[in-house]
C-alpha cells in the first residue's frame, strides 16, 4: 500500500478552502424490515432474520413499513426539512451479491424529506448552519465477509459469505448540501455534525444510533479550492467512517492529502476512499463518477407514499425537545459553569444527572456523585456510566445518609462499592458492614489524647495559633478509628482540648 503525500494541515489551510459534504445512513430500529415482515434484529445467527422477500426469491413483492415512514418523517422534521406530500420509491439497479434482487429499493428524485438545516454548535459556542439537501428512505444491503485473500476485500478473496439479516433493514440517508466556509474548523465541524445527527436520531428514539454497530454510518465528501475561487474542486468520498473521532481525522487527512495532490499540479481523482483507523489514513477505493448509471426508475411494485398534512402535524407534535435546546435549558437550570456542563455532556451522564435531580438530589450533589465517583468506575468496568448499576435512588439515599451525619463521605464511597457488588441498599450495607460515624465522644477523646501525645510538636504549633496544622492530628485520629469518626467533630474536640478558637 503506497503512502500518499500530505501537506501539514496548517499549510493546507493557508493555500486552500475546504468544501465538505456528508451522507449519513441511519438504520432505523423498527421491529420489522423496510419491505418485509422479517425481524429487524442485530447480532443474530447469520441468515436467520430473513424471509423470501429479503432473499429476493422469485415472485416476492415489497410492502412498505409504516413505522419506518413515520420515523423518516420524524427525522425530516427534526432536521427542519419539508415533508413531501407524496413520494415514490425507485429501483437502483446494480449487480452485487449483497443485494439479493440485484437492485436496491431506494428513493431517487422524490425523497420524503428535503430542504432542511441543522445548526451545529462547536466547542467554543460558534454556531454553524449545515444545509440539508434531502433525507430519503431505502433498504440496507446484506453483509459480505470476504474469506481468504488480503485485507478482507473482495479482490483476491477465495470466497465470500453473505449474511442477509441486514438485508432490508430500514435506512434513512441524510444528504447535506455542500458545506462552505468552515475553513480550518472543517474537521471539528465534521465531527460535530455527525454527532448532532446521531444525537437527534437517538433522541427521537428511531434508531439505536450505535456507530460501532453501523446504526449510523458516515460517508464524508471533501474537496479543496484555492481561496477566493467559487467553483468547487474535485471531491473524494471517504466511505463508512464509523466513529466520531474517525470522521474528524478522515476529513483532516483528506484535506491534507488533497492539498498535496493539488500542490503537485496533479488533478484530484474523483473516487471513493477507504478509511483505516490503524494508520489514520485513506486508500483509494473505486473510481466514482457522477455518471455512474444505476438505471433508476420508479419502483412499480409500490404505490406512492402519501404523507397527509394532518399526519405530519400529528408526528410533529410528538417530537421530543431538540437536544441542543434541551442542553441549554438544563445548563441554566442546574447552574453549572460552561466547563462543568461540557464535562457532564462529554462523560455521557447528562440524562442520569437529570434523573437524579428528579429523584430528589440537588444539582451539585448529582454532579458530584456522577462525575466524581461513577464515571471513573464505569471507565474501569468499560461500560456506559448509566449501565454501571447505580440508580438515582441510590444516590439520593447515599446523600441523605451523609447529610444526616450517619456516615461520612469516605464511608459513602464504600457503601457505593457495596451497592455495585450487589450487597443491597445503602442502608443495608451500612448495617452489614458496621459502618457508622463514631459520634460518642468518649472513644474519640481517647484517640485524640493518643494522637496529641504521639505528635507533641504539632500540638504545640496549634496551641501557638497555627490552626492549619490540625490536619495531622485529625489524620491520626481517623487512622486510629479506621475512618469511622466524624472528621468535623474530631476537629472541634481537638480545638476544645487545646483551648484554641477554630
Amino acid at each position: 500500500m503506497s503512502v500518499d503525500a500530505t501537506l501539514s494541515f496548517e499549510e493546507a489551510m493557508e493555500k486552500y478552502d475546504p468544501v465538505l459534504g456528508f451522507e449519513v445512513h441511519v438504520e432505523l430500529n423498527t421491529k420489522t424490515k423496510m419491505f418485509s415482515s422479517a425481524p429487524n434484529v442485530f447480532g443474530d445467527e447469520p441468515n436467520t432474520n430473513v424471509n423470501e422477500v429479503d432473499l429476493g426469491m422469485p415472485g416476492v413483492l415489497p410492502v412498505v413499513n409504516k413505522t419506518a415512514v413515520e420515523s423518516s418523517i420524524k427525522i425530516g422534521l427534526a432536521l427542519n426539512c419539508k415533508i413531501a406530500e407524496t413520494c415514490r420509491f425507485a429501483r437502483k439497479n446494480y449487480f452485487y451479491p449483497d443485494t439479493p434482487k440485484n437492485f436496491q429499493t431506494s428513493q431517487y428524485d422524490e425523497p420524503i424529506a428535503y430542504d432542511g438545516y441543522l445548526d451545529i454548535e462547536l466547542e467554543d459556542g460558534t454556531v454553524f448552519r449545515v444545509e440539508i439537501e434531502r433525507a430519503h428512505m431505502e433498504e440496507d444491503a446484506g453483509k459480505l465477509t470476504h474469506m481468504g485473500g488480503a485485507a478482507g476485500r473482495i479482490q483476491g478473496a477465495d470466497y465470500s459469505l453473505v449474511d442477509y439479516n441486514r438485508s432490508g433493514v430500514p435506512l434513512v440517508e441524510i444528504v447535506t448540501k455542500p458545506i462552505e466556509g468552515a475553513g480550518s474548523r472543517a474537521p471539528e465541524l465534521a465531527k460535530a455534525y455527525v454527532a448532532a445527527v446521531r444525537e437527534i436520531v437517538k433522541n427521537l428514539g428511531v434508531s439505536d444510533a450505535k456507530m460501532e454497530r453501523g446504526n449510523v454510518r458516515c460517508d464524508a465528501n471533501v474537496s479543496l479550492r484555492p481561496h477566493g475561487r467559487e467553483r468547487f474542486g474535485i471531491r473524494s468520498e471517504t466511505k463508512n467512517v464509523n466513529s466520531l473521532r474517525a470522521v474528524e481525522h478522515a476529513v483532516r487527512y483528506e484535506i491534507q492529502r488533497h492539498a498535496a495532490v493539488l500542490d503537485s499540479g496533479e488533478p484530484v481523482i474523483q473516487e471513493t476512499r477507504h478509511w483505516h483507523e490503524d494508520t489514520r489514513s485513506t486508500t483509494s477505493g473505486r473510481p466514482k463518477s457522477d455518471a455512474d448509471d444505476y438505471r433508476y426508475f420508479p419502483e412499480p411494485d409500490l404505490v406512492p407514499v402519501v404523507a397527509s398534512r394532518e399526519w405530519v402535524e400529528e408526528l410533529r407534535a410528538t417530537l421530543p425537545e431538540p437536544p441542543a435546546e434541551r442542553r441549554k435549558r438544563l445548563k441554566e437550570a442546574w447552574g453549572y459553569s460552561d466547563l462543568e456542563f461540557r464535562d457532564v455532556v462529554n462523560a455521557g451522564v447528562m440524562d442520569s444527572i437529570e434523573e437524579t435531580i428528579a429523584a430528589g438530589a440537588s444539582a451539585d450533589v448529582a454532579r458530584k456523585w456522577w462525575m466524581g465517583e461513577i464515571v471513573g468506575r464505569a471507565k474501569v468496568a468499560d461500560v456506559d456510566p448509566s449501565e454501571l448499576g447505580v440508580t438515582p435512588q441510590v444516590i439520593v439515599e447515599l446523600n441523605k445518609l451523609v447529610e444526616d451525619g450517619k456516615i461520612n463521605n469516605k464511608m459513602a464511597t464504600q457503601v457505593l462499592d457495596g451497592v455495585l457488588a450487589g450487597e443491597g441498599t445503602p442502608a443495608e450495607i451500612v448495617e452489614k458492614r458496621g459502618l457508622a460515624v463514631v459520634s460518642d465522644d468518649g472513644p474519640l477523646l481517647e484517640a485524640i489524647d493518643a494522637a496529641l501525645a504521639a505528635q507533641p510538636d504539632v500540638a504545640e504549633k496549634i496551641r501557638g495559633g497555627k490552626v492549619q496544622a490540625i490536619g495531622a492530628i485529625v489524620g491520626g485520629v481517623m487512622k486510629a478509628t479506621r475512618g469511622q469518626a466524624d472528621a468535623g467533630r474530631v476537629r472541634e474536640l481537638i480545638l476544645e482540648k487545646l483551648g484554641v478558637e477554630g
Binding site: E52, P58, L61
Partner: protein
Amino acid sequence: MTELKNELIRHSAADLAAKLAAREVTAVEVTQAHLDRIADVDGQVNAFLHVNSEEALAVAAEVDAARAAGGSAAEELHALAGVPIAVKDLIVTIGQPTTAGSKILEGWHSPYDATVVKKLRAAKMPILGKTNLDEFAMGSSTEHSAYGPTRNPWDLDRIPGGSGGGSAAAVAAFEAPLALGTDTGGSIRQPGAVTGTVGVKPTYGAVSRYGAIAMASSLDQIGPVSRTVLDSALLQEVIGGHDPFDSTSLTDPFNNLVAAARVGNVAGMKIGIIKELHGEGYQTGVENRFNESLQLLKDAGAEIVEVSCPNLKYALGAYYLIMPSEVSSNLAKFDGVRFGLRVLPKDGPMTIERVMGATRAAGFGDEVKRRIILGTYALSAGYYDAYYGSAQKVRTLIQRDFDAAFAQADVLISPTAPTTAFKLGEKLDDPLAMYLNDVATIPANMAGIPGLSLPGGLADEDGLPVGIQLLAPAREDARLYRVGAVLESILEEKWGGPILAKAPDLKNAVLGAVSNTAGGSN
C-alpha cells in the same frame, strides 16, 4: 367407465361443482378423470410441465371426506371445492417445481405459495399441475419455453398462443376445467382466442400478484382461464381480493362477478367498437366473426357505437419500452447466487461477475435476453427520458383515450387477436411479427383496465377459433362477465353447443412434422 370419465371432463366447472354438491360424483372421480385425460393426450399437447397427481387426489379425497361427513364440514366447503385446476408455471407453489418455462429455474422449488395458490388451497381445489409458457411469460406462442412448445388442440401443428399457451391448451383439450394464467400484454386473452376458450385479465390490482414471478410489474395480472364465461367469474371470485402482501392490490373488493354472469341481458347497454382495433391488419375470417358478434349483440338489444382511441397506435411501441425496462430489473435476481441454475465460466478467473454472466448466458433464452438488453438500454442515463419517460407519457394518453371512450360506451369490443393460430415456427425468427399478435390486447394492460376474451366462432378460411375481446373501465370487471355471458349464450345457440365440440378428437390426431423441440428458445 371410460365413457363416464369422458363425460366428466367435458363439464364446465360450474356443472362439476353442482354435481359434486349433489354427490352425483366424487372429487376423486373428477380429479382422476382429468389426470387420466392428461396421461392420454398431454404427450401430444405438452400443456403440462409438471403433473401433481398425488397431491391433487389427496385434496380431492379431503373434499369427499368432508362431504361424506356432512354437517358443518360439508357446509363450509367452497362452491368450487373438488373442482380441479391447472396453474401456469409462472406462479409459485410449495411441493411442485416452478420453472417459469426457463432453464435458469430448472428444479427450483419455491419455499412459499403464491397468494392465489393459498386461495385455491383454502377452497380445496385440487391442483392438477403446472402449465407450460413462454420463458418468463415472454412470447405469444409458447415456442419460447425452454421445455418445448405447447401445441394447439385444434391443430397440433399450430401455436396455442402465449405466453399462457399451456393453460389455454389444457382447458381446450379437456385436461382441466379451469386454469390460472398471467396477462402482461395479452398472455391470457390471446391464447384464449386461438384455442376457443375464455380468458380474463382482471383490473390491475384485482388479484394479488404475490408469488407470480414478475415479468413487468406494472402490467402483470393473474386471471382465470376456462371454457365458459361463468366459470371465469367463479374463479376470479376465488382468487380476487385485497392482499396485504401486494401493495398494488385494490383494497375494496368487487365480487359481483358471478351474479353479473347470470344476469342474462344486454338490453340498453352501449357497446363501443374501437375504430383503431379492427379492419386493416386483421384476418378476414377474424373480421367476419367480429362483425357477426356485433350484429348478434345488436339483435339482443345492445346499442353499438363507434369510439376512437387515437393513441392506441403508440401502445405497442410504448409497451415494448416499459415492459422490457421492468423486465431488465425484475430478472436481475436470476444470477446463480441464491437459487436456481449456477454455471461456472469455462476458463479465466472465477469472479462473481463472471459466474453471474455465465449463469445468465446459459440460463436465459434468446427472447428473454433480447428484452433484458432492450430494457437495460431504455433505462440508461441519457436515454431514459426519450424512451422510458416518453413511453410513460403514452401510457397516460392511452388511459385518457379509454376514459373518453368509456364516457360513450359501457364496454368496448374488438377482436382479441388479429389472426387465428399460426403455424409453429412461422414467426419465430421475426420478433416484430410475433409482437404484433398482442396489438389488441396490450392497451388494456397499459391502462390497467379489465379485458375478457371469449370464442366468437371459427374463421371461414381456416376453421380455427376467433376470439372476441371485451374491455371495461377499471373495477368494472362485472360488465365483462355480463356482456360476455350473453354473447356466449347467443353464439352457442347459433352453433348448437359449445365451440370446443367442433374441435378434432385428439386421440385420433397425428403429430405433424414439427418436433417438440423445434422453436426451443435458444
